[in-house]
């Protein structure tokens, strides 16, 4: 028993540091890029821009219809066979941001379409341009509406980054596998890493709740 505790205690700082130095940055960088993709894809659909709109629908269809793990394999193991080599971490960022971008795009499009049409009309009636109305009126309201759903997606993503272990990204779960392989304390290690994911998710949930409270200053519609 001593041995198990010793392994857990010894591995904790290693796992946590992988979590803080890899899992969290991988999540945040990918999510930030995903949000940019999502806003662009949502706006293209909202504004009904021909051709681009069909491309966006195709992108969402493909990404949402295929497993994340398969997407990771295609980029990291598949591309080298046609001469394109991407390092593990950038490959993971690429896949996670493209993947999350497709989901977040639908979340944002839904929120954007839920803003009453009178908001756009009121903007036009005071002489604002489409872009000005979008920036000052529609998008802020869209983010307010989409915030809880996006928060959930961010929390999912923290956990999903464990899949990156499969393409040799040395994130938290990869580290847990490595220590488990060395010490044979599989149960202890995997439970331990599960607890750290749980801590990360809990912190994010609390931040989400705090953010929702902050955003509620202008009340409900």
């Amino acid at each position: 028993m001593n041995n198990v505790w010793q392994v857990v205690v010894d591995s904790f700082p290693q796992l946590l540091s992988r979590g803080l130095l890899m899992t969290i940055p991988l999540t945040l960088i990918s999510f930030a890029i995903a949000l940019v993709i999502a806003v662009v894809v949502a706006l293209v659909q909202f504004a009904r821009i021909p051709v681009l709109r069909q491309i966006c629908r195709f992108y969402i269809w493909v990404i949402r219809g295929t497993p994340l793990l398969v997407q990771l394999y295609v980029i990291f193991f598949g591309l080298p066979s046609i001469g394109v080599n991407i390092d593990a971490f950038p490959a993971a960022v690429l896949v996670f941001s493209i993947n999350e971008g497709a989901y977040a795009a639908e979340t944002i499009r839904g929120a954007l379409e839920s803003v009453p049409s009178g908001q756009m009309e009121a903007g036009r009636c005071v002489g604002m341009s489409y872009v000005q109305i979008m920036w000052h009126v529609l998008l802020p309201q869209t983010f307010r509406t989409a915030f809880p759903a996006l928060g959930n997606e961010l929390i999912s993503m923290v956990k999903d980054t464990s899949l990156a272990a499969n393409i040799t990204v040395t994130e938290m779960f990869f580290q847990a596998q490595r220590i488990a392989g060395r010490t044979y304390q599989t149960m202890a290690l995997y439970l331990e890493v599960a607890v750290i994911y749980l801590i990360f998710s809990t912190v994010l949930s609390l931040l989400q709740r705090f953010g929702e409270k902050k955003l509620s200053v202008y009340g409900k519609r």
């Binding site: 009453p116 009178g118 908001q119 009309e121 009121a122 903007g123 036009r124 009636c125 005071v126 002489g127 604002m128 341009s129 000005q132 000052h136 009126v137 802020p140 309201q141 307010r144 200053v217 202008y218 009340g219 409900k220 519609r221």
Partner: protein
């Protein structure tokens, strides 16, 4: 010379003819009330004139410039929208902006007026409608009547040549309509040009200097209020007035 002249405006929604050739004009300083039963096309008329709907055909002369309503560029449309104000039935205040920012946004973003100057103008307009104490509140914290007064201040702030009102009191409880009508009355007395779609017969009669009665997508009768209310010429007008004053 007319500030606004509309000639033969037409609009269909699918197969339904909503406007079947409407013509009228508004002179500078006029307060024109548009009356009519629901479905008569009066709201659509107002929305077409301010380009919230695209008219199928018709001409518009605005401030000495002639436009073909079915064939206008975005630039021409925004150019006219910058010179007009619009007050909606359901206020449509920007939900994510406080009262002050609702009024300044059209100035700072659309007209690039410096922030401090925009705030001064906005506070001025808010005190004209009696809402200066609510500058930091959000629309959802206000009553309907208060929101509508802010909406009027927002329209006023851009120094419009004419303000369109689309049934501005129809969404309000009876006890709240009074505060909005009082503000509109003051505007009229101050010489503001107004085109008002309304069900408020007393407003049409006492405040406006011209009344247009619409039914079935056409203007049935128009004239000065005294004449219109006491001596309507058309049978359809008489019937409408009878129902409204019952």
């Amino acid at each position: 010379m007319a500030l606004l002249e509309i000639k033969n405006i037409r609009k269909n929604f699918d197969d339904k003819e909503v406007l079947r050739g409407v013509s009228f004009n508004v002179n500078k300083g006029d307060v024109v009330s548009i009356l009519g039963p629901s479905g008569s096309g009066k709201t659509t008329l107002l929305r077409c004139i301010n380009f919230l709907e695209k008219a199928d055909s018709g001409l518009m002369e605005f401030d000495g410039q002639m436009y073909d309503l079915k064939d206008m560029s975005k630039k021409e449309i925004t150019g006219i929208q910058k010179q007009t104000g619009f007050v909606f039935q359901d206020y449509n205040l920007f939900q994510n902006k406080n009262v002050l920012d609702n009024v300044t946004l059209g100035l700072t973003s659309a007209r690039k007026i410096p922030k401090d100057q925009a705030v001064r103008t906005a506070m001025d307009m808010l005190s004209r409608v009696g809402m200066e104490d609510y500058a930091k509140q959000y629309p959802s914290q206000l009553s309907g009547g208060q929101q509508q007064r802010v909406a009027i201040a927002r329209a006023l702030a851009t120094d419009p040549k004419i303000i369109y009102f689309d049934e501005p009191t129809s969404a309000l409880d009876p006890q709240l309509t009074g505060e909005v009508l009082t503000v509109m009355r003051q505007l009229a007395e101050g010489g503001m040009t107004m085109l008002v779609v309304t069900h408020e017969m007393s407003f049409a009669r006492e405040v406006s200097n011209k009344v247009i009665f619409m039914d079935g997508g056409v203007v049935v009768e128009q004239g000065v209020p005294d004449e219109f209310f006491s001596n309507p010429k058309e049978e359809r007008t008489r019937e409408f007035l009878r129902l409204e004053t019952e």
